[in-house]
Amino acid sequence: MEADPSTNPRIEPRLAVQRLSTSFPTEGGLVHAVADVSFSIAPGKTTALVGESGSGKSVTSLTLMRLLAKTANARVSGVARFATREGRSVDLLKIDEQALRALRGNQLSMIFQEPMTSLNPVLTVGEQIAEGVRLHKGLGRSAALADAKRMLDLVEIPAADRRVHEYPHQLSGGMRQRVMIAIAMACDPTLLIADEPTTALDVTIQAQILALMRKLQAETGMSILFITHNLGVVAHHADDVVVMYAGRVVESAPVRPLFAAPAHPYTQGLLACLPGRARLAGRAGQPRPARLFAIRGQVASPLAPPPGCAFEPRCDLAIAACRDAMPELLATGAAREARCIRVAAALPEAA
């Protein structure tokens, strides 16, 4: 099996995910947390996975890293082709545990959402950065610690010589996230999965962390799978965007066309929720809107999904036919797809 040029007709992608599905058996029945998700990330590029809470974006990342708890009994299907540094192509979902361990933290790293709990409180940050280095580069204790210092410098933590010997509780939230990045970057990964890396941080620190990730990406040429619900961040930092709703991809497109002309009503709604957009809309015509736009209703229960389009109950453009069947992903332009039978109607008229 070769890599399938599903959404990206460019050179061989770093990661190509095809028809990924993850479901969990629960007392209420099988929950399809992720269903039929396909996307790919080119080397050196950033793909953003966007969606609200419960849309399946985090489960997607945990499935790719094979970090789902065994006790959850997750049922996973699909293919996740990862191009290794050595030029081989492996399926992350199928390779054995030992081969996976050799990739994790080495070629394939992950940054978590909560910098407060993602670090071990009883080990110094130096020891924690050194952990991966010792494991994957086979360095000794002191060499690994020297490497940890270099990494702290790289993520722009001042006084690295002192900080390597400090414990996580002595660092601020932003610094901890920098340490997390240092841990993830210590072995020069080719793919970084960042699961809402800036959600727990305040806005100025967010900007710094994102700038840092950008700088590191430019220096190392790694690919980033960026999981977020923050569209402002997506607009600045992503190359391609995959919008998820209720476990499925509802739209995927390169970032500029997506923001210029969102095809799916859900994407349109998300964009309309941005405060900046609301202000613009106010200036261009009607009196200034008094409130921010909000998508009405809430995500359908994963145990009782609507029969047709999952977004239909919340959609202003819904028609009777939307309830009949789950729409397929339809091509809507160059490298663009949307899961909506009303794509034509949904395209903004005057744009």
Binding site: M65, T117, L135, H136
Partner: protein
């Protein structure tokens, strides 16, 4: 680097400081027993039997004319050694058991039901039964007490492991490619040190009492070995005419056990963030 301020904070409370000083004195006496006692603990002097405290025999003599002070100081060696070995053994065994039960969900139920079964026996009864089976000796008393206290540690460690294993950093090191055995040893175990430390101090105190109890009941160490328990046991028939034969070993037991409990309380309060403000 971290220890000195913590130690200072621990000794800041007067009761903990007193307990620490008492334990230090007892430990020094036990280690330097031959230098602190001018008599051999097993030298009998029948003419000197059951003599009250005097300048020659600080704590009097027992029914065989042996110097009580020498026996208590030497007894401290045995009593403390038994308690220390018990604490060490049960903490090692209990930590392993609790760690495995807490981390591997599949082993949790079978292991913990065995632990529950062991804990449902009264401590001293289980110890008596075990010594009765194994035969009275120093090693067997330690072995029996280790078996009695292991489930207690296992429970505490399992509960703490259940909390720590759900913390995000465990997932983060797994995402780093670290194997399970190393996650347990290097990342989870150090996070359990505070509850384990507290258990050590309490089990140390319990073991001193339990050893004394077993020896008093005649199922502990053989009577020729001077432990505080055997001394109380041997002196009980003479207690109405020579109170010192039970009083001094009894006081030694009480002071040591109480001090250890106080120290344990101090450590627990120090390590419990919820109580930190109250200090």
């Amino acid at each position: 680097m971290k220890m000195p301020p913590m130690l200072r904070q621990l000794l800041h409370r007067r009761i903990v400081l007193v307990a620490a000083v008492v334990l230090l004195i007892i430990a020094v006496l036990a280690i330097g027993a031959p230098w602190f006692a001018s008599f051999d603990p097993n030298d009998t002097a029948v003419l000197q039997r059951l003599k009250g405290p005097s300048s020659e025999h600080l704590m009097g003599t027992d029914e065989l004319g042996r110097d009580m002070y020498a026996r208590i100081v030497h007894g401290a060696r045995y009593s403390l050694a038994i308690a220390a070995l018990t604490a060490l053994g049960s903490v090692i065994a209990g930590t392993l058991l609790g760690l495995v039960a807490g981390f591997f969900r599949r082993l949790d139920a079978p292991l913990m039901r065995v632990v529950d079964a062991m804990m449902s026996f009264p401590d001293i009864l289980l110890a008596i039964a075990l010594v009765a089976i194994l035969g009275p000796s120093l090693v067997n008393v330690v072995l029996a007490l280790v078996l009695v206290y292991t489930p207690r540690v296992a429970r505490v460690v399992r509960a703490s492991t259940l909390v720590v294993r759900e913390l995000l950093f465990v997932e983060a090191v797994r995402a780093l490619g670290v194997r399970t055995s190393r996650i347990l040893w290097r990342h989870i175990l150090p996070n359990l040190m505070s509850p384990i430390l507290v258990q050590v101090s309490f089990i140390f105190a319990y073991a001193i009492l339990a050893e004394a109890g077993l020896s008093f009941l005649g199922v502990g160490v053989p009577p020729e070995i001077p432990t505080w328990g055997t001394m109380v046991a041997g002196g009980q028939q003479y207690a109405h005419q020579a109170f010192w034969v039970v009083l001094f070993p009894g006081l030694a037991i009480i002071f040591t056990a109480l001090s250890l409990q106080m120290l344990g309380d101090g450590v627990r309060d120090l390590l419990d963030p919820k109580l930190k403000k109250a200090l």
